[in-house]
């Protein structure tokens, strides 16, 4: 639903009312301000370090720590952590540490991919709606409302059970539900930007709609888009984990952190803690890291706006 809360803007609501000043000319200084505020935030730095660490672990790790993540080995199943298997093995004999790396690749790829795709689609959709206004705006936003009205899990389950479980398919399916908040926020900001003088000025010099959106609207909402993208990575990783739990995740021999976690939980009563906690902690730590970065980015762009 479009927010009808005309006069009172609630605190967690997005900075519709905030005015983003200027465009390209002064933007380097503004970017520097935002970057400065971001770097002052220690939690954000921790988040960035954790994310980089996770990326290195998952994508470089397998080149240093070689394990067979394709062929099952039932003789070595459910071994507790020890020599040769620092984090033990799972129920079909995969080395858990190595599995954490390949599962993490899928989780991170889907998380980042879905966040990027949904941000691009959401930003374009929202900017078009906000900038066009009128009937087109209404039509575009009712589409957004309709998708928002369907609980994300239902839509994802519905689509997940229809399509082949490939990484790019997960990216598409998760994006279908996660582009909606971005579209709403970007539309709200575009509405206020399109009536500014510099947009009028640009139009009076003959600029077309598409140019104005690309040159003036998008640069001014880029802060919101970056914040949303970061937070959506966290959401997408969690959504993929839920899908895996519900049995619609990546099929073996591929896996994701969520798949490892829910697989491990099957043996929770047997005390095979190494099949549960490494994957679970990887999810929690990564999601928190992305949330820290997203929150800090929001504060940083707020600072940029306040110091004007």
């Amino acid at each position: 639903m479009a927010s009808p809360l005309a006069t009172v803007v609630g605190p967690g609501s997005q900075p519709d009312g905030l005015v983003v000043e200027g465009s390209s000319g002064a933007s380097r200084g503004l970017w520097r301000l935002a970057l400065g505020a971001f770097l002052e935030n220690r939690l954000a730095l921790v988040g960035v370090v954790v994310i980089l660490g996770m990326v290195l672990f998952c994508f470089v790790g397998p080149h240093l720590y070689h394990t067979d993540q394709v062929h099952t080995n039932l003789i070595d199943a459910n071994l507790s952590p020890g020599p040769g298997h620092p984090l033990g093995t799972d129920d079909v004999g995969y080395d858990v540490l190595g599995r954490l790396m390949v599962g993490g690749q899928v989780s991170l790829e889907v998380g980042l991919g879905a966040a990027l795709l949904s941000s691009v689609v959401g930003a374009a959709w929202g900017a078009a709606a906000g900038f066009a206004g009128g009937a087109l705006d209404s039509v575009l936003m009712r589409v957004v409302d309709s998708i928002y009205a369907i609980p994300p899990i239902l839509l994802v389950l519905l689509m997940g059970s229809m399509f082949a479980p490939r990484t790019w398919m997960f990216i598409v399916v998760i994006s279908v539900v996660s582009w909606v908040p971005t579209a709403r926020l970007v539309r709200g900001e575009s509405l206020s930007i399109r009536v500014r003088e510099y947009v009028d000025a640009s139009r009076s010099m003959g600029a077309r709609g598409g140019w104005t959106v690309l040159r003036h609207v998008i640069p001014n909402v880029i802060g919101t888009i970056i914040v949303q993208t970061t937070l959506q990575v966290a959401n997408a990783i969690l959504l993929l984990a839920t899908l895996s739990y519900l049995g619609l995740g990546p099929p073996p021999p591929s896996t994701s952190w969520g798949g490892m976690l829910s697989g491990g939980l099957t043996y929770i009563y047997d005390g095979y803690w190494w099949q549960v906690y490494p994957a679970g902690i990887a999810i929690v730590v990564t999601v928190i890291a992305f949330s820290f970065v997203g929150d800090a980015a929001r504060d940083a762009f707020d600072v940029r706006l306040q110091r004007r």
Binding site: P4, A149, M162, I268
Partner: protein, 315 residues
Amino acid sequence: MASFLVRRLAQAVVVTVGVTLIVFVLIHLLPGGPARAILGPRATPAAIAHFNAVNDYNRSIPVQYALYLWRLVHGNLGYSYHYNATVAALLASNVPKSALLVGLAYALALVVAVPLGIYQAIRRNKAGDYVVTVFSFVGYAMPTFWVGMLLILGFAITWPFLPSEAPQGSSVGAILSQPQGLVLPVVTLAFVNFAMFSRFMRSSTIENLVQDYVRTARAKGVPPSRILLRHLLRNALSPIISMIGLSLPVVLSGAVVTETVFNYPGMGLLFWTAALKQDYPLMMGFTIVTAVATVVGSLVADLLYAVVDPRVRLG
């Protein structure tokens, strides 16, 4: 107010039709069509042709959509092939039980998150604030199914004083007759909301603490506890009403997972079974019903917000 209501109702209708359209398109994206999904990969062409003819799948797409809408407005949500019952009947028995779970979880999340958020705002950047912040971030970042399993492990296995399974009743009354079985599912689902509400309450209170009316009250010598309860609470709390409406889709998603973990006999469990059995009519029916619930929920939340906070102009 009246014009707002009319416009919002009109929007709600449009959105609901939009949902049916999305759902309808999804049916037609099915590889091989619904016949293939229901009759299986080894169905003969004759069987498929017969199924399509009986179920009007051989008509043109716009006609099919019109038929679909026509049945929908007559309460015909389709027929579940897996349960061998109408979707409407399944809904009637399962939706109230899920509503109970979701309602209790909302209540618990609010009762815990509101005082904690206020506490955090007052003790801003002190140890207590950090502890609750860490707790709510971890709560947000933990997949719901893991939260549920950990609670089972802790409170049903290690210290066995709560049942690990939800009450298995066919009605709300039957479920309420075993309240101890409700504890763990409700706590699990409340976790979904707790993090969001406490963060929101914290920032809302912080924003209100620096308002002029708080300073005035303080200058007049109003005791801090009275400022908090009489002046600040109402102002800080009212935006959370719209938050409740907006968070409904996320909570209903959480309900699907929670019901699966605890085998709670609600619509989430039914939906999941439908997904596993490729029972598309059932999945579609539930999707439409939850979507309508969300639309109505957010409309009610907006109206309530205007009642609680007279500064809000509906427009």
